[in-house]
Amino acid sequence: MLSWDELQKAKFTEANARERAFGLVDKGTFTEFVSPRDRMPSPHLPVLGEAIGYDDGVVTGIGLIGKRPVFVVSQEGRFIGGAVGEVHGAKMVQAIKLALKAYEDVKVKYPDSYEERLPAVVISFETGGVRLHESNAGLLAHAEVMDQFQDARGKIPIIAVIGSKIGCFGGMGFVGAATDVIIMSEQGRLGLTGPEVIEQEMGKDEFDASNKALVFRTTGGKHKYIMQDANFLVEDSVAGFYQQLQEVMKLPFAEIEKFRRIGSKKLVEEQLELVKLAVGLGAKDSMDVWKYYGNEDPAKLVDMGPDEFLKVAKRRERKLG
């Protein structure tokens, strides 16, 4: 594995789940929980004659960013597309549960200064959602993650990091949307129904999954940034994400709450305005929406590097601030 310093320079899209977990927290601070050495793979895959992974496709552990304990969940797309089965799901759920335990402990021990030690959860998504080989268990695990998210509301921040090849789709697409803060790179993709499934269900006229440009401008980081579905857009490097995490950790928790897109009646009403716009605009392509938000020449944004894009791109305005 690359050293922490080398990792920072590496492309995020090329880093595996363990490298991302190490690189997203301060140098030398990551400790893995239920690592491959513990040998807790899926008990269900061998029955189907499938290869197992000793980490079941997810790296979980703890690190630090400054004084703050950061519970990391990092999914591995190279193992069954990062899909969530029983063990994978349990690791995810327990990481949040432990972060909440840490929150209670820190509050007791540092009643006057717990905010500077406030735990956080960082999830590096790379997944298509439920693992079909153990689909029922995967489904139930998704519901448990959402349940833990609600427990974490108003207590600790949950931060999504999306910049790996598979993106964040299926059931994990709404898990991603339910976090407090979303950091993406242009290469990251976030949605519910993946391109192949839309094409299969709705036909090639509705969606041509082989058209990569179409795929990226429909669910990619730039589009999500313009829509305010992603809060931050960073370059495709481990350092890009790590540094953005450091910035987010400096913000008071009240500010973090404002990054949310769903999770209250007010936010539902704001989203319903967006659904009305979808009807009113009759948008056939995400670029129609970019134009509506004031980007005169949306096609130009597609090939723009991240620095220039951040300077010129106009985003949806939020009334809630």
Partner: protein, 295 residues
Amino acid sequence: MDYEQGMIGRGRDALEMIFDADSIKENLIDDIQIEAEIGPGAVVGTGLLDGEKATFIANDAQAINPRFNVVYFGVIGMEEAYKMALAVYSTIEADKDKPLEQKRPLVLIVDTPGNGPGKTEEIFGMNKATGSYQLALAEARKLGHPIIAMVIGRAISGAFLCHGLQADQILALDKTFGTMIHVMPLTSISRITKIDIERLEELSKDNPVFAAGVDFFHRLGGVEEIVKKVEDMKATIKKHIAEVREAKKAGQQEKLGPWGRGALGDERGGRVARKKVMEKMTEEYNAVADKYLNA
């Protein structure tokens, strides 16, 4: 009424069977009005269960959404999911000053084949819509509202996660009614996993982890009770509301909802790795916690 055909596509009929005669008020939670125009695939409002007020949220498989062509036959689209979320938040609002034991129940009538797939849905973020409804349900559940999901027809994959799996307890009509709970049919699982359909069929006879069906979900702890007769739906829902209310009063929230179903899956032998993994993680965390909490 001919029950032998099952209840698929009959969300509105189910409401009539479950709630007191003429008690159903659509799009109204006390005096809070929910926009009637949006999300025709979802029916929300207030009804009475032997005189007790409850919020209902059901799929209407007969409705089509003229604005979103993916919404038909019970599909939950963006408007539907947000409408369902509004019904939950409005219920929370209506009971905000009431003590825990007086929070009104929510009854979810489940018959949905999926969430809306489509380009428009992805551009505007279908994932937010379904996520939004789940967070609303989780909030209501934690505030004390008893939430019972009654699966009368299809409870498929992401749509079941959205509409059902955040409930305190899940009930399902017996499989003889054609009730379906699964992520994907075996034919699709076979195509995607490239495992022979014959082998999958053989294994699915007794493997609750991926096989389709109400009974398997029961073994995994995903379904609390199977209801054998349509006429029993009302009484069974009422029984579970009372049970849930008691558990919440006793501070036993961990026995309910997704977390409770985890414990039940362990008890029933369908999901036993989950607990071992969680315990191992806790043990390994405890060994290093001091270093991280006092950095």
